[in-house]
Symmetry: C2
């Protein structure tokens, strides 16, 4: 259960909201907060006022999934508007009609129609969809349309015809390196549904932990999980939770590499050297499953058959990446096998392994998916390639006839801004693929790797940036105005928080814990312009492993905080008209003052808390930066003239504060640099 | 799983933390943050520095419960200090020794010894306890002792001999009126363990919902729960989770009143009129279970026998409160039964019912507990009376020979300050009970009723106030310095947050949702001096029921915010020396300015959000109050003289702003009034 699992109020039919508001006025301004943007939308005048009895009718085909989704949607509208149920079964003067043509497939397929139409007039909001799945998406759009108007709330009059651009719109979460509790998975699924993602790729095994219970092979979790794993019931619950929200669950069981946890439990699967305990270090392990023994495939076959009783999806991900497997080059038995089967190197042996595992998966009437290393000569065509080492492997795969999913530009642990991810397109119109090859690009997947996250911090790493990427996967290619995306990301982020995601509140919680006080105004202000460094930089600097306490300042701050976009926009406008744009000059100056005022108190707290002490350097630098900023504004407005050499000195300072320190970096340096450069000298 | 469920790292023996700090300096100042305060403590000089390998040894009797508790404690120390595991099985130069004399009882009893000793020197922290339970309490104390020192963390040298004052230290949570997800219960148990509460009283049935699954009577949840209930597995998991933390689980199944949900499912249990659906309104229902039919007792017997397989505790709570049962006065069959059994009125009939249910409970080798209405003539002595209608019933019960638990002064929904709850003693030394009667007072229970809470808001209603009450139940009667309690409540509250409780972050989350923006600095400032009105005032004003959306400003703000105590202390000091205490005068003036500066922006946001609009009155009043405050300070310092009639006018204003509005009230009016009254006229 998550906090927004709704009271189940309407068994199937009608449901009413109380009189609480005031009719929509003619002056209403449509606020386009939709994320993802629909394929087609036209806005009419007027709106449906949520201020009178509002009844829900399911017309056409009904199902428990649909009525549950409607219950949840109505409950969220209630929570968002403060309206409350007046009663049930009351025929309303305004209505939501949900009309579905035929039942959904029992297991959601890649090709299931996800389209819907939504028409809102002053008296009726109607969702029409070929099946539940489209209607579920339509309900999310409906919720996003609700906006205040005067003293009440309305749904503006619109006509929407919507369908996704890509069939595969995924989020991968690595629960191997750090376990994530069921409640985290559930709220993640809530967030995914809100932005119309449809694949939860569940990375369940790693060198650092085997997280899925097997009854046939109980040692996998008994020896390979530190007792942190999902029971089969947990997994079934999550699959059901996802299905209720129109999301497929694709499980990943890493083989033959990233398999330390398998081998700790069942050393007989190993290629030579076998581990005695799960790996605490991150990075690539040398252990690998032995591809040469029939017993290996018997084991994998029984295991995947068991997993097929839990995961109904037509796809199984076998990982397949990062398998140096030195034992394959030295174990005489393996070398003999390779010779006998004419397998010239490790790649060929892994291709042999993949082919045999593919047979198992095919026998289960499923398709195989793997990271792009699986793309070796001789790989059968019925394998989906997930591209993580750049777009090139995706297009290469397509040209060879393989279906593919793009992940390379969507690695959240790079801590890049939403806008950067947003502009990365899985299939740009400029690509040289043929029409048939283009069809092989199924979509994209956001990746949340687990080295540096746990339940408290995962949300701020995933959200809201993933919402921007979700729009890339759903909306037409032409929707790529970064500033407009950021504008809509604000209400989307709040909506995600109201679903129970903790991406906004976790920063303050972390700061309070680090400072040992509730009085964190100053610290919060300093933190507002800092973000975590990339995974790689942190791993190399801090030498993190699975046992590192993820409770430092870098864990509290979030990537791409709103200050970045605010400042970037203000600077862009100011530089377009440096002497004329007084409003932005004043706003920026006030912002620098606000930051600068916070430094002394924040610095005191940093020095008093051993875990914050190293951040005091950043506080000192912020003081420098704000002083630089104020001078720059004065120079730009002509109040002051920059002395000779001033600019070079500022650029030196910017270089200095851009260097690594305290595992966090300032988010506004490029625009500061633009400001300084604009100063006449 | 909760977010702090630890990596299970030490199977039984040794565990080490990495070199990370600097030795404790001689200047270290002991910070007493302990809550509850121990029975006896002496502080020595020096400290154990958490800056070198720190190994854990379990000496004496070990158990999985103990080693799990040690794992969790070490993980929390790691998270609190940023230290990380260097390895396992390493013999450290500093050690934590946990020495337990004998195994704990398989089911924790009321009389199980909870004592422990904790001795910390510069090289060893040793916990000695007769059993696991005491050691678990000792570990919580150990965690609370960790404090920063210079650039590292230490555990100060102390000797503690600790044992609770009362055996029954409970928290009741009503999951009937609103369901609380398992994750909420788990984090609540984490918080309870941190402050050494030992009874989770789980209110599982209400007119508004039957929350516990029965396989024998499946309709109880099928018809009586809106599908929001705990499976038997959920309940077993929660019992195990609680036991791991030294907490008993006492389930409550309300009968014969507050039983609408039973009767919706099994109308044959009713006394005449029976409901067709669970009750949405709050307050007292007229439906009641029929006490006159043998079938009733057969049903209850089978049900409680089933529940006994889930809840091992020796106590079962049967509710028993608020049963007007008009049907008992009119149903001819019931009237005939009463006549035949010489039962003169409803009270007598309920006493008959209680006696028969007691027989069932006794046959299960358990004790019965009930709200104080059960205390009627003829009630057998083996019933524990929970006093909710004032201390009088507790003492009356004791004089009649009944054991009792006090709840009346610990109702959290009254939204009273922690300090008020804190001073209410279950057994003041001034009481006129005899020594034997005093032994019958088992302790106290905090009550969290469920009308106006759900997963997002429950924590801020329970915490941190419950920590103060937990100290009342544990520490010696003489520990009652309210100001010192509030001082310690700050770090305790942060500790509770680090355990995963959301009492601090939920306010901002609520404000963001209401305002539709992340920019809530001004709103947060205004909210910092407002708190929810009492349950009763809200219920009467808003006519709340189970379907009311609990997502208004009143839901976001928290009871007894820190501003109350801060202002009270500052005013107390200032009034002790109005002309001399410049520091407090300046601080108070700055605070008024800070509040006043926030009003315009907060007011704009309130007027833009329909759900915040009504709060704008409070913003306007805050502006008046801060102006009054500044004038008052000027008058007190002699800078200005109050014109004639000024004081009376201010008192009028204070009366006015003290009136109900927007379901929230200002927290600093009494002290404002003190300030105004102190102005010479």
């Amino acid at each position: 259960m998550t906090i927004l699992t709704a009271l189940r109020l309407c068994a199937a039919a009608a449901l009413a909201l109380a009189i609480c508001g005031i009719p929509a006025t003619a002056q209403m301004q449509f606020q386009n907060h939709l994320m993802p943007q629909p394929a087609e939308m036209s806005v009419a005048s007027g709106a449906l006022a949520l201020n009178s009895t509002f009844a829900v009718e399911v017309s056409g085909v009904s199902s428990a999934r649909l009525t549950d989704a409607i219950d949840r949607a109505v409950r969220r509208i209630e929570m968002d508007t403060g309206l409350r149920h007046a009663g049930r079964g009351v025929a309303g003067t305004t209505r939501l009609i949900v009309k579905v043509e035929h039942p959904s497939a029992p297991v959601q397929s890649l090709d299931e129609d996800e389209s819907y139409s939504l028409t809102v007039t002053s008296s009726v909001a109607e969702i029409d969809a070929p099946n539940d799945l489209g209607a579920i998406h339509g309900l999310e759009t409906l919720i996003q349309l609700v906006q205040p108007n005067g003293s009440g709330y309305v749904i503006p009059a619109v006509t929407i015809h919507d369908t996704p651009r890509f069939r595969w719109r995924g989020l991968m979460v690595d629960c191997g390196r750090h376990f994530e509790p069921v409640a985290v998975i559930e709220r993640t699924l809530d967030g995914m549904a809100a932005v119309k993602l449809n694949v939860f790729h569940w990375h369940l095994t790693e060198d650092q932990g085997f997280r899925m219970q097997s009854h046939i092979y109980p040692k996998l979790t008994a020896k390979g999980s530190d007792d942190l794993f999902y029971t089969q019931q947990d997994a079934r619950d999550i699959v059901a939770y996802a299905r209720a929200r129109g999301i497929r669950v694709v499980p990943e069981f890493e083989m033959p590499g990233h398999s330390t946890a398998w081998l700790v439990a069942y050393p007989e699967l190993g290629s030579g050297n076998t581990p005695t305990e799960i790996r605490r270090e991150f990075g690539v392990s040398e252990y690998a499953i032995d591809p040469t023994r029939d017993a290996t495939y018997a084991f994998i076959g029984r295991f995947l058959t068991e997993m097929a009783t839990i995961f109904p999806d037509a796809y199984v991900h076998i990982g397949g990446d990062e398998t140096p497997a030195p034992d394959w080059k030295t174990n005489p038995r393996i070398l003999a096998f390779m010779k006998a089967h004419n397998l010239k190197d490790n790649d060929a042996l892994q291709a042999y392994f993949n082919t045999r595992v593919l047979k198992i998966i095919s026998s289960l009437h499923k398709h195989m998916m793997g990271w792009d290393e699986v793309l070796t000569p001789g790989l059968p065509k019925d394998v989906v390639v997930q591209s993580w080492r750049g777009e090139a492997s995706l297009f290469k795969g397509a040209k060879l006839g393989y279906e593919g999913v793009l992940s390379a530009p969507y690695y959240l642990d790079g801590m890049r801004p939403a806008g950067v991810h947003y502009l990365a397109d899985p299939l740009p119109s400029t690509s040289d693929l043929t029409a048939d090859e283009r069809k092989l690009i199924l979509g994209g997947e956001v990746c949340m790797w687990g080295e540096h996250i746990y339940a408290r911090t995962i949300d701020s790493r995933i959200w809201p940036r993933t919402a921007a990427i979700a729009e890339r996967f759903w909306s037409p290619e032409s929707v790529r105005d970064v500033d407009d995306m950021y504008r809509r990301l604000v209400p989307t982020s709040i909506e995600l928080e109201s679903l129970g995601l903790t991406h906004l509140e976790s920063e303050d919680a972390g700061l309070r814990e680090l400072a040992g006080t509730e009085d964190i105004d100053a610290l919060r202000t300093v933190a507002s312009v800092l973000e975590p460094v990339s995974f790689g930089e942190r791993a190399q600097t801090q030498h993190t492993d699975q046992l590192t306490a993820l409770d430092s300042f870098v864990d509290a701050v979030r990537p791409d905080p709103p200050s970045r976009q605010w400042f970037a926009l203000a600077v862009k406008r100011l530089l377009a008209d440096p002497s004329g744009d007084a409003a932005d000059r004043i706003a920026i100056a006030a912002w620098f003052t606000h930051l600068s005022d916070a430094v002394p108190a924040a610095r005191r707290q940093m020095l008093a808390s051993p875990r914050l002490t190293e951040v005091s350097t950043r506080a000192d630098q912020l003081q420098q930066l704000t002083a630089m900023g104020q001078q720059t504004l004065q120079c730009l407005s002509g109040v002051q003239k920059a002395p000779s050499g001033w600019k070079a000195k500022q650029m030196e300072t910017l270089d200095e504060v851009g260097k690594p320190s305290a595992l966090v970096r300032f988010v506004f340096l490029p625009e500061m640099s633009d400001l300084v450069k604009a100063v006449p000298e």
